[in-house]
Symmetry: C2
Subunit: 421 residues, 2 copies
């Protein structure tokens, strides 16, 4: 695990004024990486660091000599930390770099962002135990969780090609569905389109095929974290998923936030990783004192909705739910990395591991409409009187995440927005 160091000092301020404004997602203690270009241009995307309301063009600073985020992600932990320290020093108040680096800034409002790295393979896990329990209850009231759930970090492979960046607009998927009492399936647009609130863990340095990553080393391979909306067509899923899992119900679109908040930036926001005493101890390959001591992430997650009518009326998105990752996830990022490689599978820089839907223990902390509306039976009423069981055309779904703690400066993950049309 990354130790706290000078880059986390709450007294640290930047010569970029907006980075010092209380409540910003991007103070100098954060320094997330993304890929940007001037909006409206056809420039190649470059690596940037968010600072306040600006983006620092990292290559222009001379600290790196690549535009390829995956190359940067392949760096050793030591090199990653050295790069972070250098960026922090250069952006700090009183830095001798201010004059030069000022010319390497672009306002975020003038930038176009893209998916933050090339995602070779995308794996989606299922660590949200409250989500798994609530969804499981809808299908199997007597046994909501499968017998393997508390032993195996359940995961499946996802689709990399259809992953987009915040702002993604996609068409409502079509496909086969079958009503329980129907003789045959029918074809048409999904009527039960949902979102899933997830964290996206991005892999840094990978491992060779056949060489598992031990649990004690796993966090060295975690480059950072994004927000992930794993859009889901519940009606397609119900008909297609036996026996090999979700497929067309998921791969029409998935949306990532543009900024990778690094493992280093998250160091002040780690938590003890606790499981109920009655639960089985993980098998030794998934267990390490370091993981128990600080394997959890303490991130607040918020979901908001803006309907087409709200947009037309100039009404801002309204909150659907608010929760926290510490209570939601049954497995840590380190456990996911180790489990994924224990059979010899190779991870590569830029691979994406979804956390699974991070619903809290309370009903109003649910990370999907499927849970919030009890499988579509109980609509949510919005402040303007509109109702939703599932997403309707024109709906924009927004997810935000941030970390706050006594004695630390608040950092944010930014947001991920997406619209179905």
């Amino acid at each position: 695990m990354t130790a706290l160091n000078a880059t986390h000092d709450p007294k640290l301020r930047s010569w970029v004024a907006a980075a010092n404004v209380a409540g910003t997602d991007f103070p100098i203690q954060n320094l997330p990486f993304g890929r940007f270009r001037t909006a409206g241009s056809s420039e190649a995307f470059r690596i940037g660091v968010a600072i306040g309301d600006q983006i620092l063009d990292l290559r222009a600073t001379g600290l790196i000599d690549t535009d390829d985020m995956n190359v940067l992600m392949n760096a050793s932990v030591k090199d990653r930390q050295a790069l972070r320290a250098a960026i922090s020093a250069g952006l700090a108040e009183g830095s001798g770099q201010q004059a030069a680096w000022s010319k390497a800034l672009l306002a975020q409002a003038q930038a176009e962002m893209t998916v933050p790295c090339r995602i070779g393979d995308y794996t989606d896990f299922y660590t949200g135990i409250h989500h798994a329990t609530t969804i499981g209850k809808l299908f199997r009231p007597d046994q909501p969780l499968m017998p393997n759930y508390k032993w195996v970090p359940i995961g499946y492979h996802g689709r990399a090609s259809s992953i987009g960046v915040s702002g993604q607009v996609f068409k409502r998927p079509q496909g086969q569905t079958k009503a329980p009492d129907a003789v045959a399936p029918s074809f048409g647009p999904s009527k039960r389109l949902d979102y899933e609130l997830e964290l996206g863990f991005l892999v840094g340095r990978g491992n060779a095929l056949g060489e598992p990553i031990a649990i004690g080393d796993a966090e060295d391979h975690l480059f950072g974290v994004t927000l992930l909306n794993d859009w889901s067509a519940r009606d397609l899923q119900a008909w297609e998923y036996q026996p090999l899992g979700p497929f067309l119900a998921k791969n029409f679109a998935s949306t990532l936030s543009p900024w990778i908040v690094t493992t280093e930036a998250l160091a002040p926001f780690r938590a003890k990783f606790e499981r109920p005493a009655e639960d089985p101890q993980p098998l030794p390959y998934l267990d390490a004192p370091s993981n128990r001591a600080s394997g959890a992430l303490d991130i607040t997650l918020e979901v908001l909705l803006q309907t087409a009518k709200m947009r037309a009326d100039g009404v801002a998105p309204v909150r659907l739910t608010l929760g926290n990752t510490t209570e939601a996830a049954y497995w840590t990022a380190a456990q996911l990395i180790t489990h994924h490689t224990v059979n010899g599978c190779n991870l590569q820089p830029g691979d994406l591991l979804g956390s699974g839907t991070l619903s809290g223990p309370q009903p109003d902390q649910a990370g999907s409409l499927m849970e919030l509306t009890l499988g579509g039976k109980q609509p949510v009423t919005l402040p303007n009187g509109e109702k939703r069981t599932f997403l309707e055309d024109g709906d924009t779904l927004v997810m935000r995440g941030w970390c706050e703690r006594e004695g630390a400066v608040r950092i944010g993950l930014g947001e991920v927005a997406g619209t179905v049309v």
Copy 2:
């Protein structure tokens, strides 16, 4: 569908002598693409065409100006056919290119091959109805096939990073397994390691997100076919796969043959695609007269095994099974492409679609040991007296494929071999 033309003429002969030898996999009527370099060198891999026992360096002929197979795969059907015609003409007896192109040949025996393209996403389907029925019977004697099987081309996402080329040597995967009567799972090497005999369909030109590929256009997006061994750890799979499908049971390794036999080369080996009259008609989006008329591929598939002892004793691999794709697959490649995109999912050049295990209707045509040994209950006895229920360390599994028809020249897919250690 690609029509027959002069490149299929059985009378066509090549100035590369070995291409005219009866029984070669690579006569001038085949012309498959692969990526090669001189064995032992550290050259970049280049695009080559197999001809007899040689490889034609395609860039050296001046017909292409790229070393990137995915660029070539993105070509239009018209351009693909034009390239094939030009290669065929240049390699034909009496060609004026003979003197120049002779210098662009490398003996296959002196070449190192690699995975034939960059595989962005890998999807594995489950089209082998006899496989699905036999495996299903082991779990559900009363209902071997799920209710969706004859409506939905069942598929799931696989792992691209661990796909290797023929000759791949991999370590036996470790992981969690649980005996039916055990209280808790245990950890260790898989004891039920199996192969799966599949075709790999490689996507040519892709589609934009949100723009499905109609069934009538689907074959235009199929670049060609390889052999695929989808190694499977049956004991890991049984414990992990509920509810989201196979994961670590599959992603430790998958092996492809090095040569992509193109859709154009396969034109003489198409078959009527028939399903039993009592089966449901596919939904309209999966149905097209062209697909019914010639959607099936007529490819003979053979599986062979060489144990470590056989290798030490100088004994060649022995046949385990022999079958044909026409009888094995319930869905065509065109139906897989259309189904995959009907929800808007985007395919990209180089994406791999596995057919699923292609077992024939007879027990001795089974495409996996799980089927051949009735779930490990009935060992196979090899000619030298060794027995196998599942694969043992040192076993090399070889798959071969070829097409033969009256009035056409035999073409081969080459072979895919892999060894577990």
